[in-house]
Every structure is written in structure tokens, then in C-alpha cells.
Amino acid sequence: MELVSPADFAKDAVQAVQDYTLLAVRSVGNLFRPPRYVADIVYQADLIGVGSLPIVVLTGLSIGAELALNSANTLQRFGSLSLIGQLVSVGMVRELGPIITGLMVAGRNASGMASELGSMLVTEQIDAMRALGTDPMKKLVTPRVAATVFMLFFLTIISDLLGLFGGALISTLLYHMDWHQYWSTAWQILVFQDVFMGLLKPVLFGFVIATIGCYYGLTARGGTQGVGRATTQAVVASSVLILVVDLLVTKLLMTIFAYQ
């Protein structure tokens, strides 16, 4: 393996951050500059949103059920089983719903974007697009970013609801809780801050997933092997960034909303 000097490594890292920032800024700026590729946004929304629905349904349902299963045991010891609806509700809406959905969509779509754009790059299709007078940033990147942000928002809501439903199934079928009591406590515990936090996160995660996927795709080097590498890096980087952004946003919003 070729050794890289610290100076070159630092330069490459700064260059990568600069390139990523430019891509991210332009992907948003292009929304306000014609031409706008509405049909491409709808197509990507179908691909990303509807395509990810089965995996989001499955994970949302099972995470909610597992959360209820695990916490019921502890709550039962303190005679507080009735709190299970509240626990599942807050856990799913504030944290688990957004992050699990984000990670699932990252695994499925950041890799897809990186491999698709990477393949287009190494087969000169990106250059061909530029040569034909079309801006690949507008045609390829902006629709993916817009569609991912939009669809992840709704996928997270679906995941939250299914998580609550999974928790309700466990609570009523295994622990014989009253169905209405579960739902009313789950609903009553939620305050504006919880819902705001739970719905802001998917917007940020969607942006991270799409921009990272597109960035790694458009910077792929070294033929098919390079595309494979870019795909892996896109999944790893977007997953790590989702966790980092989640931590920062949670802390920031807890400070702003003065959570106890």
C-alpha cells in the first residue's frame, strides 16, 4: 500500500470537505434555479420512498415491539406496566423512529445512489450529459436530495406509527394491557417538542443520505472496483454522519427546549 504524507492526507481531507460542501450547497441552490426536474424528483421519490416502504414497515414494527417487550419486563418489576405506552411513544417518536428509518434508507439508497452515479461516471455518461449541455448537479443530484428529504419525512411518520402499533400488539397480547389505555397514554405523553424533534431529524438525515451518496458516486475513481469502494464508503459515511447529526441535534434541541 502506498504511504501518503501527512500534508497530502490533510490536503485531500480539506479538498473532500470543500467538494462535499459545494455539492451540498449547490444541490439546495439548484431548487431555486431553472430548469427544475420535477419529473425526476417524482421518479426518485417513488424509487426511494415507495421502494423503501417494505423495509421501513418491517423495522418500525419490530423495533416498536422489541422496545415494548424489553421495557415491559423492567416496568413490571416496579408495578408500572401502564407506562409502557408512554415509553414506546417517546422512544419511537423522538429517537428510534427517525434513526432506524434513516439508517435503513441510508443502507438502501446511499449505496444505490453512489453505485448508479459512480457507474455513470466511469462509463463517461456524466461527461456525456455535460457535453449535451445538461448540468448533472441539477439533473441527478438535486432530484435525489429533494426526493430523499421529502420521502424520509413521511417514512419516519410511518415507522413511528408502526412502532407504536408493534408496541400495542405486545402490550395487549402478551401483557394483557387495555388497548385504549395504551394508545391514550402513548398519545398524551407526546408534547410539541417531541414531535418537532422527531420530524426535524428525518429532514436532516435525508439530506445527509442523498448528498453523501451522490458525493461518493460523483467522486468514484478506478473503474468497477472504485464504484464498489464508493458504494461501501457512502453507506459507512452516511450511517456515521446520521449518528453524529442525531447526537448534535438531540443535544441542541434539548438545550433549546430546556428538557428536564
Binding site: 430548469p35 463517461e124 461527461d127 456525456a128 455535460r130 449535451l132 449541455g133 445538461t134 448540468d135
Partner: protein
């Protein structure tokens, strides 16, 4: 027999750039990661001229085409294309100019998720506000030009290598650009298919009077271009009558180690005393 094309341009090769030059390179240099690829390249392409660019692999032939299109930016020097200075122009300011240029890539670079029709119509569809009829007519004409009318609903993966090149030519020429750039259009093709592609390039040159830069490894491609014209009545290329070859607007550019070592016409090329060039063309 239809008459060979009359020469309407000045004597083209080796002259100074003029107002009619479509492409002008002035002392252009470019390096990739510290390795010089082009060193002080200067040449011009006159209106109506076809210039064939030769050189061994890695000599910077394709780089010249990418610089002409603004896909790469030079480290030094100036580039003028269709009368506009593009050397350091921003990417978003180049799209308008690129719509006046057609490029055929080395491996065709067709969009593999689009059909032949969508590939060929890409430029028209991107311009927007066009009806189905407004797209279908030029697509049919372009595919008819390359004799592939029956592939309209096929995907690039269903086509042979030669057919893909022909679709790439149709895609590049659908809006009748003023300048065509061909990057090894016959690379990797069998001799018969390669000749078909060259015939299409001659057809494009003689029917639409398009200027072009042609990068190729095959010397015979450029010789065919310099010695043939397209007979529209017979719908095929024909050898030029003796004595008219020097009138074909065809130039040759040979690169070696990032520098131009020859820029001239067919006559000068075959009579050169340069040992490297003689060995190259032998």
C-alpha cells in the same frame, strides 16, 4: 455521379488562426497530479475543416477534446471555441455553448437506462417545451442518417458496439451542431464496422458541412476521410477523383510527449522527413 464537395474554405492547415477559426488553442498546458499531459499546445481548426489527431496512447489526444468542450480546464494558455474564450469559464456558463457542439465518446457513453429514442432525443427533451411530434421527427431523421431506424425502442445494452457508436453519432448530430468532436469512434471495432463509422463521419462532414476534430489510433481512418467524399445520390462514400485530394479540408495533428510534432495536410504528412512520423505512418 454527384460531384465531390467543392472547397469553400481557405487553405486550412498550418495557417494562422483567423476570424473563421472554430477552435483555437494558444499555448495550452495541462498536468494531472503533477504529470504534464499537454505542453504548450497551439493549433486552430478552421470552419469546414476536419482535423485528425494522432498520437500514442496517453499522448493527450482525448484531453484536447475534453478541453475543447470545457470538460477540463487548462493550467495555462487560452482556448477559443466558436469565437468564445472558454479557458477559465465557469461550468454553468458553458452549457449554452456546449449545445452547439456534438461529441461522440470513445465508448459511446449512451445513457444505459434510457432507450435509443430517449438517448437521441436527450438534447431536445432537455430544452423543454417540445411536443412528441417535435421530438419524433428529428429523432427519426437522426436515426435514419445512421441507418438505425428500427432500434428506436431498444436499450443500449441490446445493441452491438458498432450500433452504439452510430446511435452516439445520431445523438451528437440531432441538433446539427457547428462543431463535432469524435473520440476514437472506431476504437475496438472490426474493420468493416469501422469503415461504416468513418463513412458516417464523412457523410456528416459533406452533407452538413460540419467542422470536426477526430481523435483516432487508426491512420487509415483519416486517410479514408482525406481521399473520399460522400455521394448523396448513391448514399455512399466514393473515392475522390485524382487531382482533387488536396482540396479536401482535412488536417493532421500528431502529438508526441504532450507536444504537437506535426500540423499539416495529407501531402505534407506523406512527404515528411521526420523519422518518428515516418515510422508512425508506415
Amino acid at each position: 455521379m454527384a460531384a465531390p464537395p467543392s472547397v469553400t474554405t481557405e487553405r486550412l492547415s498550418g495557417t494562422q488562426p483567423s476570424a473563421s477559426s472554430l477552435v483555437v488553442f494558444e499555448d495550452v498546458a495541462l498536468a494531472f497530479e503533477g504529470t504534464p499531459v499537454l505542453k504548450g499546445i497551439s493549433f486552430h481548426l478552421a470552419k469546414g475543416e476536419t482535423k485528425a489527431i494522432f498520437g500514442v496512447a496517453g499522448s493527450g489526444k482525448s484531453t484536447i477534446l475534453k478541453l475543447t468542450l470545457g470538460l477540463l480546464k487548462p493550467d495555462a494558455g487560452r482556448i477559443y471555441v466558436l469565437g468564445e474564450e472558454i479557458s477559465q469559464r465557469k461550468e454553468e456558463d458553458l452549457f449554452e455553448l456546449r449545445r452547439r457542439i456534438g461529441m461522440v465518446f470513445q465508448e459511446s457513453a449512451l445513457f444505459d437506462s434510457l432507450t435509443v429514442r430517449e438517448n437521441v432525443a436527450f438534447r431536445l427533451l432537455e430544452e423543454g417545451n417540445v411536443t412528441e411530434e417535435e421530438v419524433d421527427q428529428p429523432v427519426r431523421e437522426a436515426l435514419s442518417f445512421v441507418e438505425l431506424e428500427n432500434t428506436v425502442d431498444m436499450f443500449p445494452s441490446e445493441l452491438s458496439g458498432g450500433m452504439r457508436r452510430r446511435v452516439a453519432i445520431a445523438r451528437a448530430m440531432i441538433t446539427h451542431p457547428e462543431l463535432m468532436l469524435y473520440d476514437s469512434p472506431t476504437g475496438g471495432l472490426d474493420p468493416v464496422t469501422a469503415t461504416t463509422i468513418i463513412e458516417l463521419i464523412i457523410k456528416q462532414r459533406d452533407v452538413f458541412k460540419t467542422s470536426s476534430l477526430l481523435v483516432t489510433h487508426r491512420l487509415q481512418d483519416a486517410f479514408i476521410m482525406a481521399t473520399h467524399y460522400f455521394d448523396r445520390r448513391r448514399n455512399r462514400m466514393q473515392p475522390l477523383p485524382p487531382g482533387t485530394r488536396s482540396e479536401v479540408p482535412m488536417g493532421f495533428l500528431i502529438l508526441r510527449d504532450g507536444k504537437i510534432i506535426f500540423d499539416g495536410g495529407l501531402g505534407e504528412l506523406v512527404h515528411t522527413q521526420d523519422e518518428y512520423i515516418r515510422e508512425y505512418i508506415s
